[in-house]
């Protein structure tokens, strides 16, 4: 009987052109103008983070206290200069590398730890699930930025600790996502089939369940980078993240507070950089969601 049905399927597959789910997702994505704009912005900032620091006129801390302090934007200093006479344009470009790395690596950290815990909880259920799920509940009972502030207050303020804090606060989001995905995939017949031919648990997890959980992780991951960038900037702004002279955007905004009455460019450009990057990741994430996971639409 199994033979007959696979025969039929093959016939069908030959008649209609086979499109892989990823290709189909790309087709949907391509039609979505806002998503393309988001993708464009994100690509731009990634390139900026990689190439930018080699191209810009100044390093992160080239002070010119006497000749170029608090200069307004001009042909020489596109975004003006700050209270140390440093070129803000150069610093904003250098800052792209910081913000994007913090966003990317913190979210990668949350995904790895969250997936691990989510898989344990979803696959083994029972006490393991109970304990892990309660921990997630408790972590989600804090407003996330507050939990991050608490963690950094304990670990001590630094960019690295801000990254760790942001990674920690996002773990439950991914953990819950994977757990629910594992729970639903586990009931599928192909998992039963894999089990019946004696496949090991770890192999089932890594070869069947994890790949099936990829689309929602990619969507959630993209949106989480957006929040992570804002959170990192918020911690930097509060003096709990990057330290001067690191040109982290939130830190630059904090430093601008004493001067922006006379030198508003110190505040405007780092802020613009944050909102543009975040907007890019949000648009891209929304577009990916519509393309990869239409059921998640709100």
């Amino acid at each position: 009987m199994a033979d007959i049905s696979t025969d039929k399927m093959e016939v069908n597959l030959e008649e209609e052109q086979v499109i892989s789910p990823w290709k189909e997702a790309w087709r949907t994505f391509r039609k979505n103008k806002l998503a393309l704009v988001g993708g464009g912005i994100v690509t731009f900032f990634i390139l900026l983070a990689i190439i930018g620091p080699f191209v810009v006129p100044e390093g992160i801390d080239d002070q010119k206290l006497t000749e170029a302090r608090l200069q307004p934007p001009s042909a020489e200093y596109w975004f003006g200069t700050d209270d140390f006479g440093r070129d803000i344009f150069s610093r904003v470009v250098h800052g792209a590398r910081i913000s994007l790395s913090v966003g990317f690596f913190s979210v990668m950290g949350s995904i790895i730890v969250g997936s691990f815990l989510g898989i344990l909880a979803g696959y083994y259920r029972g006490i393991v699930d109970g304990v892990i799920s309660r921990i997630f509940d408790i972590m989600l009972a804090f407003p996330s930025i507050l939990l991050a502030i608490g963690i950094v207050a304990v670990l001590g303020p630094s960019l690295q600790n801000a990254l760790i804090a942001i990674a920690i606060i996002n773990i439950p989001t991914f953990g819950r996502l994977i757990r629910s995905k594992v729970l639903s995939v586990k009931e599928e017949e192909f998992i039963l089939a894999a089990k019946s031919i004696g496949m090991k648990d770890t192999r089932i997890l890594f070869h069947h369940i994890l790949p099936n959980s990829m689309p929602p992780i990619i969507v959630q991951g993209t949106l989480a980078i957006a929040t992570a960038i804002i959170e990192a900037a918020a911690l930097g702004f509060l003096g709990l993240g990057a330290r001067s002279p690191k040109p982290e955007w939130g830190r630059m905004l904090a430093d601008s507070q004493a001067y922006f009455i006379n030198a508003p460019w110190m505040m405007i450009f780092p802020g613009l950089a944050i909102i543009l990057t975040v907007l890019g990741f949000n648009l891209l994430g929304d577009g990916l969601r519509d393309a990869l996971d239409p059921k998640m639409k709100t």
Binding site: D137, A141, A233, A234, T298
Partner: protein
């Protein structure tokens, strides 16, 4: 109904215990000797020992935890290291400041957000709809601290319409009764001070309201669009009912559950966002209290304030869950 509420309350117990445990472990998680870090490099052996004793760090951790829990149950939040007085006695004015700010922000966010979402759905695909959704998109991506600085620069520094920070006029301060200044000034019948208080509230409240406003507008629009496609709405239109009533009475009621969810969720998140807004606008609220405490390494204050905000957050989520069950009886069977 009651069974649902009781079940929901029972699930709170492990969460609350976990919250207190995490907050309790905070001080213990400081790398090295906490007392040493709190007191700084110049600390003497005796002063470190004294602080260890005061914080109870010389006892095993589980003894400390149960003492801490016992203290919490009797309303003891520990002592501030900086002022050397009980936190429970000094926290209310700050808490009241944040509550006032958060409530006014939420009021703005709900009023504008819901109405904008409704009008956007009513005139779907009009220029208003497009402009609004674009604004909402930008609003969602807005770093609140940048918006605060922009507001300060435009409306306080350049236009001089509103003060740059604080809760009231320092030279003519409000005499606190409840510490909710709007209520205090109304009780005292002092309109001049009431106006001052409101003028101080506008900029921080608008900054704090922006993100929830954008999210509420988006969810209201999509929820309304879904409802307005249904048959009973078509019937209401067909029988010649005025469009205004179709939209605001018939549609809004059925679109309200997702909107309510988001409002509840956002109210909780506002408490977290308040710390940034309060820092920018020198608003003497709980966020500012935490911020100062971190800078003074006053860990008991950091600990207790975070616990209090988390408790509020949990409480708000509980109320939202119960409200659902009242609005939509199907939920309690889940």
């Amino acid at each position: 109904m009651y069974a649902y509420i009781i079940r929901r309350l029972l699930t709170l117990i492990p969460v609350l215990l976990g919250l207190t445990l995490i907050v309790f472990l905070m001080i213990r998680a400081i790398p090295g000797n906490p007392a040493h870090i709190i007191l700084g490099q110049a600390a003497t052996e005796e002063s470190i020992e004294a602080l260890n004793k005061k914080l109870g760090l010389d006892q095993p951790w589980y003894v400390q935890y149960f003492k801490y829990l016992g203290g919490l149950l009797t309303g003891d939040l520990g002592d501030s290291i900086r002022t050397d007085s009980p936190i429970s006695e000094q926290i209310w004015p700050y808490l009241a400041g944040t509550i006032e700010l958060a409530l006014v922000a939420m009021l703005i966010a709900v009023f504008i957000g819901v109405n904008a979402g409704i009008i956007s759905a009513w005139f779907q695909n009009s220029w208003f709809d497009y402009a609004l959704m674009l604004l909402a998109l930008i609003g969602v991506s807005m770093p609140i601290f940048w918006l605060g600085l922009l507001e300060q620069w435009i409306f306080a520094v350049n236009l001089d319409w509103f003060p740059t920070g604080g809760r009231d006029n320092v030279r003519n301060p409000v005499e606190p009764i409840t510490h909710l200044y709007i209520i205090d000034t109304i009780i005292q019948g002092d309109t001049e001070k009431l106006v001052e208080v409101i003028r101080h509230l506008v900029l921080p409240a608008v900054a704090l309201a922006t993100i929830p406003m954008a999210i509420i507008a988006r969810i209201t629009r999509s929820s309304m669009l879904e409802v307005m496609r249904t048959d009973y709405i078509r019937t209401a239109k067909a029988k010649g009912m005025k469009m205004f009533w179709v939209v605001y009475k018939h549609s809004l009621k059925n679109a309200s559950i997702p909107i309510l969810t988001v409002i509840g969720l956002q109210l909780g998140l506002l408490l977290g966002g308040a710390i940034l807004t309060e820092t920018i606008f020198s608003w003497p609220g709980i966020g500012r209290y935490i911020y100062d405490a971190i800078n003074y390494r006053d860990y008991p204050v950091v600990q207790s304030s975070i616990l209090i905000i988390a408790l509020f957050f949990v409480l708000i989520n509980l109320i939202v869950d119960i409200l659902y069950a009242i609005i939509d009886p199907r939920i309690k069977y889940r």
